[in-house]
Symmetry: C2
Subunit: 394 residues, 2 copies
Amino acid sequence: MTVDDEVLAARVVLGWIVEPGNRELYHLVSQAGPVEALARVVSGNAPKTLAAAAAARLRHHEPARIAGHLLSRAQRLGVRIVVPESEEWPSCLDDLSRISLPTHDRFDRDTFPPHAIWVRGTERLDRLAARSVAIVGARDCTDYGAHLAADFAYGLATRGWAIISGGAYGIDAAAHRGCLAAQGHTVAVLACGVDQPYPPSNTGLFEHIASSGLVISEWPPESAPHRHRFIIRNRVIAALARGTVLVEAALRSGARNTLRRARQLGRPALVVPGKATSEQSAGCHAELRQEGDLRPRLVTRVEHVLEEIGEIGVDLAEPERGPARPQDTLDGPELQLFDAAPKRGAITPAEFAARAGVGLLEALAVLPSLALRGHLRMHPDGTYSLAPPQRDRA
Amino acid sequence: MTVDDEVLAARVVLGWIVEPGNRELYHLVSQAGPVEALARVVSGNAPKTLAAAAAARLRHHEPARIAGHLLSRAQRLGVRIVVPESEEWPSCLDDLSRISLPTHDRFDRDTFPPHAIWVRGTERLDRLAARSVAIVGARDCTDYGAHLAADFAYGLATRGWAIISGGAYGIDAAAHRGCLAAQGHTVAVLACGVDQPYPPSNTGLFEHIASSGLVISEWPPESAPHRHRFIIRNRVIAALARGTVLVEAALRSGARNTLRRARQLGRPALVVPGKATSEQSAGCHAELRQEGDLRPRLVTRVEHVLEEIGEIGVDLAEPERGPARPQDTLDGPELQLFDAAPKRGAITPAEFAARAGVGLLEALAVLPSLALRGHLRMHPDGTYSLAPPQRDRA
């Protein structure tokens, strides 16, 4: 299936005129289709805010020329454009049409799906998204956080999961790198044009990502990474992935917003704890302190993540156990009698009963069983002592 | 109110014959009273397990002599005995009669209130318990855990809360010491006689605790710290305190059992996180990973603990905030326009509108307001630029 040229051009121009996620534009396109929606926005026959934005943006520009310019720029850069009409469109993004909140906060109102995704890299976006985990967190992370982000990404990548993140310094970069180290596929979702790697010092990382995974953006080439765009962008990270892991986040970290979007989408929202005294984990802990359904799940190992996002019956975490001791299997009177054994020497069943506070008959019944199982040793005179400790065979 | 001598003696002997928490003995005493209950247990006119335990324990002993011996030993040691008939009895312990679980696990069946508490120290147990927090955790703790336990204890003690713990190495000892450092009252709940400080190297600590707080036990003097007694004891730590804080615990730590008892009692169960990679926090994290009502609350600061256990309207934690930036108050088009300001130089409202993706009229309305509030600077030619950063007055 190839996308109609006119539809593609309309989506591209609409995405250039109005910041992504816009509620009114999404509804207009849903009703009228992208070509007619663009015509209405340009002619002023659209909700006032859309018409006003179009008038401002198109003051010195003509829609058809914009489309031509951006499309040819994409071609020169080797960037393709994935729109809802494309076969490669990840349908998980459409879930974003359901999370808009009744609020005056623009960022919670305008959480609708993108109109177009600009893509660098040869992998198919829909296929990577279908088996992917987002790992996000603070730019200003600690070595501990970077280490964990890389470890989670590496472990998930070796199990065939793609890693989605935001391409920022710190946790994002560590997650991308951990995935690359496992020869996995990673997707960097930028808040600016894919031709404007931000931060600039991650340029080498973006080249590496694009060569084996994808660098993508809702914004056309040449778009700058304005501050508000990072929050708009976060919803796409959360919507592409099956679940989102927050590794380190200070109280004000924007990564908490990505986690929130995952929760709003009904996807697993997972949080790695840190030291109670670490400012870089304070945002993680604040999330984990939420009450009720809002509370994300604490994870400390890759297996915990797989348990939340994996197919049912697959990828389930082994129950955690500390090192086993022989007496751990004992309970009730057995344990009481075992504990009553003197450190040195042997005593009679009656002495055992008195020390353990159990009946003599019970002691007479239980002690032979403890001896049979190697916890105690029975002596020829009918007394019992502790069995010598067993060593594991070397 | 003084306790009848016969009642006190009966309670003392019952507590010596049967391990504390026993379900059958609790019901028998509730029905028949302690004096009659003892007579029935000794004569064999009682549930089989009780009669058998009595027969084993009393093989070489006579009840009246046991009572006399223990009471005179207590007097020599300066230890008093608090029973449910005493004015000093902490009524919060009676809640233990409601948590027994329908199970064959002895430790979950036999969680009933103590028959007697042996007390060293001059403070009143009921008064300390009424405003107390339990802080428990691993013996084998890290410096991080010990530091936090001491910090929580210190902070709570300075706000007038007593600290309850188990007198063990590690987290317990750090909690007691943190409380003592704040000149607070701390209560060590032992799993052996109060004349047998365990671990022995904490003897100095126990002396210090007894001089300003309390060292207590359900077991009479001369009782040894058998392993199973620590688990039986834990229910008393949880039941005395208004809430329980678990600081560091490996997966198999017995302190998790204390937290579980707090939860079963419907008291706040609070857990301090640690590094995801720390084995000494793995038990804490496993608790925080519980689903539903069983899940304890994560805490990282004294204020979080007070929020859970404090009187309503008192001790509420201040909401947490990171450092504030002037533009944090901006939202929607205001933030978009602010972000669209060039780093250097001034631009026109029309240029702002185009860069920000908002309508020109909106830009014309919003920019003067941003300038008034000091975010932007307006120039005589009608253009706007970023305002120079404001410094806090030194």
